[in-house]
């Protein structure tokens, strides 16, 4: 842990490197971080508000809350899983604490996520939704999601080194996970007897919180918040331990 702190500058440079590379050679560069969620919002608006007339009020915000959080989660895992193998050239030649590779790839994604939230807030402003002090919970919710994502990301990064099928499996896992998360439907549509187990999926709980805060000006359910925090910390502890247990062999296996 202390070593990781010493390497904070390297983590920072990796994040900056990845952001720079992400947008190098594109004309709009950095603006894509805003443009992408904005285009999504417009598409959702046209399809669900103008064409299909979905009955849910402010459906664009309803979807954006979920989609943006989900994209942060899924993109993070997509990058973190391959982060060790993709940095083989570096890992085999230079010493560095290996945690920084999945960590920095996830932090790159959170920068993107935070930028996309700007678009969401603009849309919220545009729809004249009144927000209240529940907004103060937002940083906490993001932090919990970050912790959960880092845990899973560490686990997947380590697993992929020894088990390359994971590259193909990940896509399927994320697809199933996507449908077990209330992105295009309401949590209320899940039968009540399953709902408790359903909400044990931290992503389902987190997305409910985002909507509570950003759409309904509601405070998150504290019991569910507690459970989600605990699940996320467990995920971090397990992911971190698995990663550290195997990390000594990474350089020989990649």
């Amino acid at each position: 842990m202390r070593e990781l702190f010493q390497y904070r500058e390297l983590i920072k440079s990796f994040v900056i490197r990845d952001l720079k590379i992400m947008y190098k050679n594109s004309y709009l560069g950095f603006f894509w971080s805003f443009l992408n969620p904005l285009c999504r919002a417009v598409v959702f608006y046209i399809i669900f508000d103008k064409i299909f007339h979905v009955g849910i009020e402010h459906f664009v915000i309803y979807l954006l809350c979920a989609i943006l959080a989900w994209m942060f989660f899924a993109d993070s895992l997509n990058c973190a899983t391959f982060s060790i193998v993709n940095n083989a050239g570096l890992i085999k030649k230079v010493y560095s604490p290996l945690e920084i590779y999945p960590l920095s790839s996830i932090l790159t994604r959170i920068v993107n996520f935070l930028l996309s939230l700007v678009v969401l807030f603009l849309w919220i402003l545009f729809c004249r939704i009144k927000l209240n002090f529940s907004l103060l919970y937002l940083p906490l919710i993001i932090l919990i999601q970050l912790i959960f994502t880092i845990g899973i990301g560490f686990f997947l990064a380590a697993a992929y080194v020894f088990f390359r099928d994971l590259g193909h499996l990940l896509e399927l896992i994320l697809l199933v996970w996507f449908y077990f998360t209330p992105i295009f439907y309401k949590v209320e549509m899940v039968p009540i007897r399953f709902r408790f187990f359903y909400l044990l999926n931290p992503m389902a709980a987190l997305i409910t919180f985002y909507r509570d805060i950003l759409l309904y000006s509601r405070y998150p359910d504290l019991k569910l918040l507690g459970i989600t925090t605990i699940t996320s910390i467990i995920s971090l502890v397990i992911g971190w331990s698995v990663f550290n247990f195997h990390s000594q062999r990474f350089a020989e296996e990649i």
Binding site: S13, I21, I91, K93, F162, R249
Partner: protein
């Protein structure tokens, strides 16, 4: 005072005969079959502060593995390695260079990979550019550099890290005569400044000339260690016997 201490060090690699990562074979319960290959076996030596130690031996005798172990890239299977001070490993110049970033951006990125704080890089930036003779190209992307230019930049960054222990693996074999000369001068400067250097090389005259001592690795064991002249001689005669 010894700054590197290697005790009973052994390193085993797993040689997979048919490397399978696939799910089908895992499900069928077939484990990966591998052979144990001991690259290094029972290595003991110590390096004093300010010493330059040459490491010689035929290909595959474990020289590079040793450097990687000291650099903490690999971990010992048995035994231990103790080091004191900052290590800079020149195992490959410009490891981690990003072709899409400019020379300037790469200096900062590579500097932080080698654990140089940002203000240190600020301070050494001009020196690095000057040493690499790339003043005119510092703001163009690295993919427009020739391989020689990239290598010069890599070396310039690595020697500016100001390490206590420098591990060099044959990197000087590349590059033109003038740049090679510059590199040797830089190494002499390190020697004068009491830096500890481990130098893996096939260039035996240089090992004789520059190194205080040497170790000859023979199939993962120490063939001989001692004065560089004597070690080089017995290495050469072992080659003739074959």
């Amino acid at each position: 005072m010894s700054v590197i201490e290697v005790n009973n060090l052994s390193k085993m690699f797993r040689l997979y005969h048919e490397r399978t990562y696939s799910l089908k074979e895992r499900l069928l319960g077939r484990r990966n079959i591998y052979e144990q290959f001991w690259v290094l076996k029972d290595i003991n030596f110590a390096v004093e502060k300010g010493e330059m130690l040459g490491i010689i031996g035929v290909n595959g005798s474990g020289k590079s593995t040793l450097l990687k172990l000291i650099a903490r890239i690999l971990y010992p299977t048995e035994g231990s390695i103790g080091t004191k001070g900052r290590i800079s490993a020149l195992l490959e110049l410009g490891a981690g260079f990003q072709p899409d970033l400019t020379g300037r951006e790469n200096i900062y990125l590579n500097g932080s990979i080698l654990q140089l704080p940002k203000r240190e890089i600020d301070r050494r930036f001009d020196g690095i550019v000057q040493f690499s003779e790339l003043e005119k190209f510092v703001d163009i992307p690295l993919r427009n550099y020739s391989s020689g230019m990239q290598m010069r930049l890599g070396f310039a960054i690595a020697v500016n890290v100001n390490p206590d222990i420098l591990l060099i693996d044959e990197v000087l074999a590349v590059g033109d005569e003038a740049f090679r000369q510059k590199c040797y001068e830089k190494i002499s400067e390190f020697q004068r400044n009491e830096k500890t250097i481990l130098y893996v090389s096939h260039n035996l005259p240089t090992v004789r000339k520059m190194c205080d001592g040497a170790i000859w690795f023979d199939q993962g064991r120490i063939g001989k260690k001692g004065k560089s002249d004597e070690v080089v001689d017995s290495y050469l005669s072992s080659l003739k016997r074959k």
